[in-house]
């Protein structure tokens, strides 16, 4: 890790991060502050859709900016003409990426808890658990998706390829998950998308919250522990893609 580079990376990426984090906080606040909104309601109408798409924008844009764009533009030459190792560059960028996503959902989770407390007048331990686990789930999902974008960003010399591949995969996974959610005949798409590994129903069941299906009817009781294994799968995807990306970036030819 290099402090100077980290500072520089934060400076260059904080703008988009701030806007998207504030948008999420605003949405949660607006939904929950008005009155008693059960966590499961927010989960169905908000968490299942919006944060994933908002963070996808951040993941795709930032992923490209962290490595590929700097190689493409040639600015990377200046960091690498100083005694900073390529591995250090790669790991510093990875640290920023993961850290910024963690902060994004930590803020979203805290905002939800505070807003719930203010809107409903009280909040139970189970509700706090559900909110924190849902946001942890979003973080894990984005750990995996950002890892994919990071990997794409570390192997391509041109921004356009990094965005096409990284963004293409992330976009496709969100799209497949959405199609499966809204149309039963596309249910089979689920198995191709890591987005479905973010299992809100299981988290809600685990936290003793009521679970609704998409149609609003009470669904059959989901497995309250299934999400744990799915978190692990997301974590593995994240760790593997980040490690692979860093290694490949340190070893490949750079046209600088």
């Amino acid at each position: 890790m290099n402090g100077t580079l980290l500072k520089q990376t934060i400076k260059n990426n904080i703008g988009l991060w701030l806007i998207l984090t504030l948008v999420q906080a605003f949405f949660i606040g607006a939904m929950v502050m008005g009155g008693k909104t059960p966590v499961s309601m927010t989960a169905m109408s908000y968490y299942a859709l919006l944060p994933g798409l908002i963070s996808a924008v951040y993941v795709i844009v930032t992923g490209n900016k962290l490595l590929a764009q700097q190689v493409d533009k040639g600015t990377m030459a200046y960091v690498l003409s100083t005694p900073v190792r390529r591995t250090t560059v790669a790991l510093t960028q990875a640290f920023y990426f993961i850290g910024s996503l963690f902060a994004m959902f930590a803020i979203a989770g805290c905002t939800h808890i505070i807003a719930h407390r203010l809107g409903a007048g009280s909040i139970s331990g189970d509700e706090v658990k559900a909110i924190l686990l849902i946001n942890a789930g979003l973080f894990m999902l984005n750990l995996a998706l950002s890892g994919i974008c990071y990997l794409a960003s570390s192997v391509f010399n041109l921004s356009k390829y990094a965005i096409a591949v990284g963004g293409g995969i992330v976009g496709a996974m969100h799209l497949m998950s959405l199609m499966a959610k809204f149309n039963a005949s596309f249910d089979w798409l689920k198995s191709f998308s890591v987005v479905t590994l973010f299992d809100i129903d299981s988290i809600l069941a685990f936290s003793n919250q009521q679970v609704f299906s998409m149609t609003g009817h009470a669904a059959e009781a989901p497995d309250g522990t299934a999400f744990i294994l799915k978190f692990c799968v997301l974590a593995v995807i994240g760790v593997v893609t980040y490690l692979l990306g860093s290694t490949l970036f340190a070893k490949r030819d750079l046209p600088l």
């Binding site: 533009k73 600015t75 200046y78 005694p83 390529r86 490949r252």
Partner: protein, 307 residues
Amino acid sequence: MNNVIEIKGLTKDYGLGRGLFDINLSVREGEVFGLVGINGAGKTTMIRHLMGFLHSDSGKCSVMGMDCWSKSAEIKNAVGYIPGEISFPDVKSGIDFFKLQAEYMGMSGISRANELAERFNLDATARLKRMSKGMKQKSAIVNAFMSDSKVLLFDEGTTGLDPLMQKVFTDLVREEKLRGKTVFMSSHMFDELESVCDRVAFLKEGRIIDIIELSKIRGNERIKEYKIEFVNAEDYTSFLGHSFSVKRRQDEYRQVTINIPDDDINELFRVLSAFKVKYITQKPQTLETYFLEKYQRDAVTNTEVSQ
């Protein structure tokens, strides 16, 4: 003296005859080494190997005894670099850029950068995005020199500079050489290399076809070229009657260009003393003429071989 830069059997094949093929050369400490060749000859590829940005297919290169690939970060403590394409990090002004780079280098301040900026007449407080090509190039030059690195690698370091600033640059390179710096620079401008380099390698299609000591070209060649103009036509014709090796005749101007070995120079003066000479001038051999002749000769040899 020690070899600061060492390249052994360096090969990087990009296919279709592009890349570098079996490059061998070494640059001594305190030497200014030039690399010349047309676009696509492999100059940038060679410098990128020295910077550890590219991994060779085979062969090795090292700077100060450290392998350019495996020790690329360590080497940077001793290397200043001007990339072929200037694109600055996302900071506001030139000063901010120097400060950022100084921080990466672990330098305490940017006083030397300020001195250099003044020397190049560069307003480093200007916004990087608004800078002209020349200003950007100057900023990149200042950055390369400011850390007082022992080895300097320039990939066409003066592109975009006006002739006045090119002079400032070459003066600076000469000063740094006197301070013991080793310089490895590519260029397609012969006169720039000619004025500062000790040796120049000529790169063609990824291969070094010649390495020339510039002291051998700088007026030290044994056969020199003289151009003489005569006042009247009789003297002109009469002079041509002597057995000098005539390179070019311009009858309408009564001008003749001859090649003559240093040993015969007194003979020339003896002959000329009988004539009314308008002027005599020696045409120095330049790096450019040297290589152009060499290039043409190679081209001829190649055609002969292929026939």
